[in-house]
Symmetry: C2
Subunit: 454 residues, 2 copies
């Protein structure tokens, strides 16, 4: 057994306790009532970073949630890695679908169950415990900086400005992030691409008050009917987004990339069975694994309006709302898309309703070159921990700040994530396999054996 | 001043107090938590009917809310009228839009403000106070029966069966109902037609759990997107419902009826301004007043799914729901339409989602002949009270039980309603003009001067 494996095994009960303490703070960034928890969580990380060996750590207030910075500097002339993570989590709703308390982690069936068990408390703890392990074993030969934010799930609103203001402090050669997932436990992978995001709230106003649908139905446009018509006009029967010029900036997939994706183990029947759907639906001409990672998508994330209580109230409501989003790919500009979408919706909106399209947040897609030294170090570290060379694949999720790091700090990011699809992030019963968590820490520690190259 | 007017004026403070006491019982039939209030309200009516002169009154339990029956019998050989009303009201939500408590009636600006001020507590009280007035003044020359139900707003679920079981008790020559509205305070009218109703809840199921829209978006159908597409396929750009054979049984409007409607005072600009809409939308080829009374319509009454809280949660939800309804016209069969709609939705539903269409309730449309003796008595009574001969017009609302009365009891109904569009029934700040309420009671009392014909 390697000394890294030994250290991790010897300290696992404490590592788990530390993760559970972190999870216990309900740092839900989407809800303003959790503001005090955000501050508590940031302070918690500051203490913890100092505890594991950072020479200094600080909580920086922002106009939103605070940002935690920490550093371990050996020598300014050595290469520097910057570990980015986020301490905020998604809302736990719907609560009734959880099998245990979302903020009280439990280990059951070889998995850790809790909101944030994976995204991103479990994964950020992997990096910090990897750092602790490497440090205690004297393996670290580079400077290590940490930046943990509390607004990733709501668009990293204040992090880009923070980076602009603290360029010198955040100076680094590469950024390392554990906030993505692998193809499967048997097929480890590293993420070389992320999708971008644009998110809007649509408000449709019909009459100035809720109306009796008997007295007005048929004579006055119904805002819910009309909202549905607007949404139905975004994607065509072939799964293509019909907004004019929407695909103009999309970099076409190379044959090489498509060939590589074709080699990823994938059983469509299993995939459908796991989701309990009879058929899949997506853009014509693309494979499922291309559709969910290399092609843009349009999803209604939420919709509401009118009477939604018990029974059968007849009403022609005054308002209808939807929260909608597009996942974007390289090199779509999220601000350009955001405007394009709003313009399109206004252009198809009939005169008998009023429509407001409010951009909520967005971010660019990202692509990582596989010849980057830090990418190759991560590849070797994962091979040691998982016993297989990880595949390089693009993934469908978004970490908008990754593109911003490149733009503002001029630094590429290596996405060294250890999630699994079955982890149910953003859903009830989020979880993390304990064996993967362990291997993740091992890989994070092994990274320091390969970076910088000897 | 007529003796009827004098009696009403002398007793108005008590009449109002009696209405307010009735309103104070929150008899919301759509919510099961109000079950005890339904029983209380029925008992309240029983006592009140006995108080105003009914020789007997009784509360009949049903599998739903109780039905109140009362009677004042002079001689079995005389003509009998049956006064129907409902004591249940619509839910008061959204509460934040009310200017005063929905169940604590107040008089302000010459109007009574409360849930039920019009529909149907205000209007049922008009009939009962009209009866009291005529009785005290010795004007009554027919038998009078009362039947008040507590499920009108949820489809009169148990009344039809009740009528079947109590045909002898409910035997009558004509039914009189105050639960409709007039064209305006200046243009009194009697309702000669009502629309029918069919109401469904649609449930769309996509994947078996809420998914991360980054990891699955583009590859798996989103149930909200799909629900919107289904709804968008019900009505075409010309405002016509595209369900096959939907219009097959619709009795076309006669030229005579269309000519009469054209004479109803109507200013489209005022109508739009009152609703604050820039344009109206409805079936091509029909006037607004035809669209909202003589033609069927399709409205989404409520829609919900996904994340609807604060902020911008990205999610590809598992479920989406809508409550939808059609107003029907003579002689569409609501059960036939109900099945037709469910079949249509299933026929257009793609294979990548599962759709359930659950019929919630329904009722037939109704047409009243204007040569009916009781219609003509009502016409004369209104002319005395309002100083103008009321117009005979069809209205867009539904009282499904009216068609059932005809089917089960073999009796026509005279719709002697005193509502106004500005009364905001089914909406926040429901109200009733005090002067109209007064004239309504006068008309209800005058009715006994003309029925039966002398």
């Amino acid at each position: 057994m390697s000394q890294i494996k030994e250290y991790i095994a010897a300290n696992e009960p404490r590592f788990l306790q530390e993760l559970f303490d972190l999870i216990r703070i309900p740092s839900v960034s989407a809800k303003s009532e959790h503001k005090p928890d955000m501050i508590r969580c940031a302070e918690h990380w500051k203490s913890h970073l100092l505890g594991v060996g950072a020479q200094k750590a600080e909580v920086f207030p922002t106009d939103g949630n605070p940002i935690v910075y920490g550093e371990y500097i050996i020598d300014a002339s050595l290469p520097t890695i910057l570990i980015y993570a986020h301490y905020d989590v998604m809302p736990p709703e719907p609560l009734e679908l959880w099998n245990s308390e979302p903020f009280e982690a439990v280990v059951r069936d070889g998995r850790i169950w809790a909101r944030g068990a994976d995204d991103d408390k479990g994964q950020s703890m992997i990096q910090v415990k990897g750092f602790e392990t490497a440090l205690k074993l004297g393996l670290i030969r580079c400077n290590v900086k940490f930046i943990f934010e509390g607004e990733e799930e709501i668009g990293s609103t204040h992090l880009e400005d923070f980076c602009k203001k603290h360029k010198e402090m955040l100076k680094s050669d590469v950024i390392v992030v554990s906030d993505t997932s692998m193809i499967s436990a048997e097929t480890p992978s590293l993420t070389t691409g992320l999708r971008g995001l644009a998110y809007w709230e649509i408000e449709v106003t019909g009459p100035n008050r809720d109306l009796h649908s008997g007295h007005f139905g048929g004579a006055v446009a119904n805002p819910i009917n009309e909202l549905c018509k607007l949404i139905a006009q975004v994607v065509d029967a072939d799964g293509r987004i019909v907004i004019p010029r929407f695909y103009d900036d999309v970099v076409p997939m190379s044959d090489e990339e498509r060939n590589m994706i074709a080699q990823v183990p994938f059983d469509e029947n299993e995939y459908k069975a796991a989701l309990d759907v009879d058929e899949l639906f997506g853009e014509k001409g693309y494979h499922t694994l291309e559709r969910n990672s290399c092609r843009p998508s349009f999803d209604v994330c939420g919709i509401w309006g009118g009477y939604t209580g018990e029974g059968a109230k007849t009403v022609l409501p005054s308002k209808a709302y939807a929260k909608v989003s597009c996942r974007l790919v390289a090199s779509q500009d999220h601000e350009k898309i955001s405007k394009m979408f709003a313009d399109y919706i206004q252009s198809i909106a009939p005169k008998y309703i009023r429509v407001q399209v409010k951009p909520m947040h967005g971010g660019e897609a990202y692509l990582c070159p596989i010849d980057l030294p830090a990418y190759q170090a991560a590849e070797k570290a994962c091979e040691v921990a998982f016993g297989k060379r990880p595949l390089a694949v693009r993934r469908g999720g978004s970490i908008p700040i990754i593109a911003a790091f490149e733009r503002v700090l001029g630094v590429k990011t290596v996405l060294m994530g250890f999630g699994l699809e079955s982890n149910a992030i953003h859903s009830p019963n989020e979880n993390m396999r304990l064996d993967i968590w362990r291997k993740g820490i091992e890989a994070a520690a092994e990274f320091y054996n390969y970076f910088p190259e000897r």
